[in-house]
Amino acid sequence: MRLVAALPANRRAYLGLTAPAVLLMAALFLAPLAQVLWLSISEPRLGLENYAELAHNPLIWRIWWTTLEVCLVTTFVSVSLGYVVAAAMAQVEERHRTIMIFCIVLTFSLSILVRGFAFVVLLRSEGVLNGMLLALGLVHRPLYLLRNELGVLVGMVHYGLPVAILPIYSSMRGIGDQYVRAARSLGASASQTFRLVYFPLTLPGVISASALVFIYSLGFFIIPALLGGGHVVMIAEYIRVGFEETLRWGYASMLATTLLAAVAVVLVAMSRVIDLRKMFGG
């Protein structure tokens, strides 16, 4: 009895210990967010006029359309390639696995600017890749790999790949080889085993990887700016322009709010399918 009675008091004490973190979050995260929301309805004057732009400004919709298109393709390519890499990681021996994980985590520590410029060096007309293709005689004039959607996609997939690999890999690790063995012993071929058993079991990992990559890529603006050369404007880049160049803060805040809403929609949709806490490793 005493133990049960003691619990709530204890709880309160523990809740008290989380207070600094809660305050920090409120001050550094929620307050600025609230400010953005406030800006979107108070600049240049109080009202919903910024949101009215959504109804009659086709430019916003065109930019959103580009954003979704690029993000969906990025997600699809990253998750497909990531699945293959994750499957390889789940199969190889421990020593090789360690090396692979190290390489993947290493890419996180590279500045996105460094990566962006590295791809410029690789992909531009006089770049490493074109130089090689020309020298081999595979092409007769340089391919246009930059300043278009292709260039943006290459850069974004490079960023999305490690984000995709880790959740897929962790879902594969949880499976073990017993199900595959069981399927084989019951007469399933390799492809049947994959289609009916292995892939369905990794599906939660695939879904969370897709959600993560998609949400990450929605907010990209350096890579599209560097590799798209102004030809591929995505929503985040457009927001930056609104804040820094045209100085229409209210308008930009409204755009930022639509971005926030889009992320929220993806998260809510995902939460219907999988456990969000698991996805963020909580």
Binding site: R184, G187, L201
Partner: protein
């Protein structure tokens, strides 16, 4: 028509599997007759699981062959061997219902759910699980999962059924129930079963035959009764049940029996001293339940006196440790109904046994 596994014989010839410089299987040969239930029994690391995995096709042997009837299946991949397998932990597909799990082997053979329905139902009826056909494996108890795993391994009429520690994940009482069930299932189906376990009780109670493995080799094969009554080596005698071991010097052979000297004591043992070492010593295994405990000197051929060291009451029997002057401490099991003996430590008692109670075994 319930799924009936077919009856085939399995022959394993000179199988060796080497991992690095370690031989997990060392020249193993074994024959399993049509419709027999054989259990591979051994401590962990004895190679029993490796042997099962080689038979199933998941592990490629370094050398040797596997025959199903007259056909060499050594190089067939697992899905072509058509061996049903019940895995340790069952490996039921967690994303499929019970029915879909049992349908699976038929599905990959091209049967639609509707075509497979009769066979699936009959097999689930066989293990009394049809009423839970719509459940997911995660919603079933361990015993129920085990039954579904059996149904899934039997529904496609496999050539033989392999069981990898089939009962190890269950609690004691359930395990006893399922031992009966597996036995009766085996009898009804008439199929060939190959099981792996480290649990001697499970091996003794379920199988027609037991192969005892040790360090990658088969130590002895025989019926449970045979192995228990006539172990060939000290290892088998101590792995299957409990045993006292007495070493004596061969003192003479007399017809169908021989004499051993142990200190001042003379023991008569039936049989021939074929296990005698080069120095003339013979190792005798004496089962605790074959020794008789009494207060006065018994009329048996072999007699030794001692005093009670300790005793444990086990419900159906007493387990008694008796210290003797001549042959060390002996474990004796007496039925609990046989009262009249005081098990106070220090009490003098007699132990008696007939010449055919013991068995001469090899040291290693």
């Amino acid at each position: 028509m319930p799924a009936v596994a077919q009856s085939h014989c399995l022959r394993v010839r000179r199988l060796t599997k080497v991992y690095g410089d370690q031989a997990a299987l060392d020249d193993v040969s074994l024959e399993v007759g049509r419709g027999r239930f054989i259990t591979l029994l051994g401590p962990s690391g004895s190679g029993k699981t490796t042997l099962l995995m080689v038979v199933a096709g998941f592990v490629t042997p370094t050398s040797g062959q596997i025959f199903l009837d007259e056909r060499d299946v050594t190089s067939d991949p697992p899905e072509q061997r058509k061996f049903g397998m019940v895995f340790q932990g069952y490996a039921l597909f967690p994303n499929m219902t019970v029915e879909e799990n049992v349908w699976f082997p038929l599905r990959v053979r091209g049967l639609t759910r509707r075509d497979a329905r009769n066979a699936v139902r009959a097999t689930l009826d066989l293990v009394r699980m049809w009423h839970l056909a719509d459940r997911l494996p995660g919603q079933l108890s361990g015993g129920q999962q085990q039954r579904v795993a059996l149904a899934r391994a039997l529904v496609f009429e496999p050539h033989l059924l392999l069981l990898d520690e089939p009962l190890s994940a269950l609690d004691r009482r359930l395990r006893a129930d399922l031992q009966w069930e597996l036995r009766s299932l085996h009898r009804r189906l008439g199929a060939t079963f190959v099981s792996v376990t480290h649990d001697q009780e499970e091996a003794l109670s379920m199988s027609d035959e037991i192969a005892i493995l040790r360090a990658g080799r088969i130590e002895q094969v025989g019926s449970p009764h045979d192995l228990y009554a006539r172990p060939r080596s000290r290892f088998v005698a101590s792995f299957l049940g409990d045993s006292n071991f007495v070493r004596g010097q061969l003192a003479g052979i007399e017809g169908e029996s021989f004499h051993l000297r142990v200190g001042d004591l003379s023991i008569v043992q039936a049989g021939s001293p074929h296990t005698a070492a080069r120095d003339g010593s013979v190792l005798l295994a004496l089962r605790p339940e074959k020794l008789r405990l009494s207060r006065s000197q018994p009329g048996t051929v072999n007699v030794v006196s001692g005093e009670i060291e300790d005793a444990k009451f086990q419900g159906t029997s007493h387990h008694v440790q008796v210290r003797t002057r001549d042959i060390g401490t002996l474990a004796v099991t007496t039925p609990a109904w046989q009262s009249g003996i005081d098990f106070e430590p220090g009490r003098p008692v007699w132990i008696g046994w007939e010449p055919d109670a013991g068995v001469a075994v090899t040291e290693s």
